[in-house]
Symmetry: D2
Subunit: 292 residues, 4 copies
């Protein structure tokens, strides 16, 4: 075995019943290879009987050479935000259903990890976004996102009005249910449901997708990933807006609040089994080529 992956961190979906069995098989597999294992606290809860060290994620990221995440794309989004800064690479094992990020299947896990641990793998850099909220000139909140930063209405079925600037230049003022700012990784998630295009992961780009825009000629726009996007919530009688990162982290917004989105300096290192083919995953996820 000639890979540099000697200390493996394990993160798993919280509370899913099917995770336990896969996690145990994975621990057996890694122990049989004599690798050092550290669990994060969510994984440790699934296997209380196995005596392995369990730590918080920042420490896990520090200690390990590779982190294996068991769960769906949602679990990887969560783990990815925690790990990107540390630079530790991540590989995703799904629970039976192919994910865009979790592309190792439990059935092929042993064979595919054999290859990865032998140093045969494909590594990608996936960009993250960093969003801050400014109120009266002060930054009052910040979060990362691997998929998307979404500014959207909540509570009532009314549009909100957003002023959008790119690198300080006005793009437009739009009335809509909200605006999605997505990475290439996020382009196949919520942004796609909103009518956005697919962005190849290798693209240095960000896509802005309006959600149910009032104006019919408001369209998705793809901009350079080096751009800074400012979204200012406009005043209104019934403005109930919030910003959400990866559909997982929420923050309530007031009129006048500015959400500033930039590419995060650090990217997520995502590892795939050799032969990884992004287009094949698209074909399988979207059923392309199946007759109808």
């Amino acid at each position: 075995m000639n890979s540099s992956f000697r200390h493996i961190g394990l993160i798993s979906k919280f509370g899913a019943a099917t995770v336990g069995a896969t996690l145990r098989r994975l621990i057996d597999y890694l122990q049989a290879r004599g690798l050092e294992i550290t669990l994060d606290t969510s994984a440790a809860e699934h296997v209380p009987d196995i005596p392995l060290p369990s730590v918080e994620r920042p420490i896990l990221a520090e200690r390990c050479d590779l982190v294996i995440v068991i769960g769906g794309d949602g679990t990887i989004l969560n783990a990815g935000r925690s790990l990107a800064e540390s630079g530790v690479p991540l590989v995703g094992v799904n629970l039976g259903r192919l994910g865009f990020l979790a592309d190792v299947s439990p059935d092929l896990m042993a064979d595919q990890l054999d290859q990865i641990l032998a140093g045969e793998y494909a590594q990608e850099e996936r960009a993250l976004l960093h969003a801050i909220v400014q109120r009266d000139g002060e930054t009052i909140s910040s979060s990362d996102a691997l998929n998307d930063v979404v500014v959207h209405k909540w509570d009532v079925a009314r549009m909100i009005e957003l002023e959008v600037c790119i690198d300080g230049h006005l793009l437009n003022t739009q009335r809509s249910d909200g605006l999605i700012v997505a990475t290439p990784t996020g382009s196949t998630a919520y942004a796609l449901s909103g009518g956005g295009p697919i962005l190849h992961p290798s693209l240095d780009a960000i896509v802005l997708v309006p959600i149910c825009p009032h104006s019919l000629n408001n369209r998705p726009i793809v901009i350079n990933e080096a751009s800074e996007v400012d979204i200012v919530v406009q005043d209104g009688d019934y403005t109930h807006a919030q910003v959400t990162c990866d559909g997982q982290v929420n923050f309530a917004l007031l009129p006048g609040d500015r959400v500033r989105v930039r590419k995060k300096a650090q990217s997520l290192k995502l590892i795939h089994p050799p032969g990884y083919d992004y287009f094949e995953i698209l074909r399988r996820k979207f059923g392309w080529g199946q007759s109808s």
Copy 2:
């Protein structure tokens, strides 16, 4: 004057500063013609100095031969829901910006009302929807809608899962931000932003428009207005769903709740100046024919 419109009810947008002047001009105009006038309470607030009877809407609808509503489409939606049952016809005066429903402009108000009061006008029947919410077999809420009944998520940026049946037959189970059930009147409102088609007002039809559906091949479907639509909120970890009528009336939903939508028995009688041309309104609202 040979029309049967002798007792005119007046309803106006609540709280809009520009309404007062138009309302006063309208009262002068009607009094000069010797017509009887009754205000609803929202209109009375704009002209506290004018001694005219002011009543609640159900009484207004009972007493009057014609109701004139001053405001935008939102004001007419609100009035239309209150008046449809009574059968009293309604004419909409906008505040300077052409509406789909409020198509009499303040500038042409006198001339156009001259014609309408002389019996020269176009009358349309606009269908309404009636929505009820059933929980554990009991009806716990009900409301009318002139534009649309929308079942949608709120609070979090997560999809909800809805099972949709038409006349007792399963259409599909869909994950999305929600589902819009719209009348032809509502087809140019929120349903259009969601990607739905325009339905001509004379069409006996209802359109179902999924909001940001997860599945890319989930598409708007137009069904017969005689159909009964059942939408059942499916269980989920984070289901926060509500139903909203015309973007104005909300009701919180729990998993298992059934929203049943049918065409309301009574339609709204909507009156237009002679020469009313629906397609011209479309062209003006959508800027069709303007070069770009």
Copy 3:
């Protein structure tokens, strides 16, 4: 057997190799029941060795009580246009792949025909369109369509300009690749690819779907089936337009030509096995409910 179907006409896809076997099985089946059989000339070519009368379609329609069409939806479109006028009902047998119109599968053919011949079936009326082309005030061409009448550019990758009127009222003048006028039956065909909605077959409606419109706020519009649609090809340097019915019948157009589309007086009687469920066909054709 208590049905009135005693003389069965058979029509089949032209030239498809797989048709022969299904056709022979069908003939055996019908002969075993003592039913009279007449072939149209396309079916006769597949079974030159079987001594059955073969006639042109208008005569077939006249003589038979029921016509069975073997092939895909394209074959049924073709047959439907020929048979609608006569009023003879039609049932569609597919070649293994479910069609919207050809919904009897070869595997279940015997059982399902047993039921139909026993008088147990669902019958629908499917509307057709009738299109005429007028040049200098004279009608120079006409055709029926079960799916759609499409006015579109050809030869070059340039837009054409069309003026569209509905019941004599201007809808708009649009630049696009063309315009689809579709029946509910056609709403799940080309019109859907162009971004149109699904129309339930019971709907008395026609949908107009612009193909790649230049103006982003040009949208599909659903109108009453009683409406008359006029499409006039506008002048242009490079206008190469034609009108196509069901993707099968073409006619070249010149600037100034008017294509007038109306609902055809006669509908097609389409017969399904008992338990026919349009929504189930939608679900199967679009893969609704399959996880992705």
Copy 4:
């Protein structure tokens, strides 16, 4: 005057009546500044009475420091393809209607050229595509495109089937009216009508937009501009396909033909007046911010 633009080439729209006056004003303006002028043959036809040298475009590109093109975006597309290879910069003067490429208005022409000739301007590099057609392994045609390379059906209203590969990896096999491969420049042209996103001109990307795809989950995809796109026309009974560059150059395709599209090595140098704001042009062209 401190710019290096001393020899100006002039190209104009062919045959447009309004061009002549603008061209004469422009020649007066340039002669008054003592600049050397050369016309291309299309411009020379508009001013046969003015004794200026007129040459073919390749020679014009060689001789001049700057080329001014008078006309709409179509004229600039044509000129841009001719000039890109030479590296000579281009500025576009429109005929009264703002273009994405022709953004100098005739009214402001003198002032804006003053600035440009004084060396105050914004210069952009706009990518072009280079398409070749391969048949039986041999290249039988090639062309450049500034907007888009489109493989599409013609003649009949039938879909064609295309196999699409990116950098040798299968993307999918799709049935549609065709496929648009567009540059950022072309993203606001035909690709937008086909449902594609807007790509900022600074983006190193290409977008693939299917035209009326049969499969509803076939979506626009944005890929790296360094990618090689192969489109192979699949066999079919009625395949009539062709490839078109910028809507101006056509070439007929046979089943089996491969259209290979790559970014062209040379870009077009496009010059704008100082203060050029791409987003402002988007707002004006799409009417963003105008109430409806």
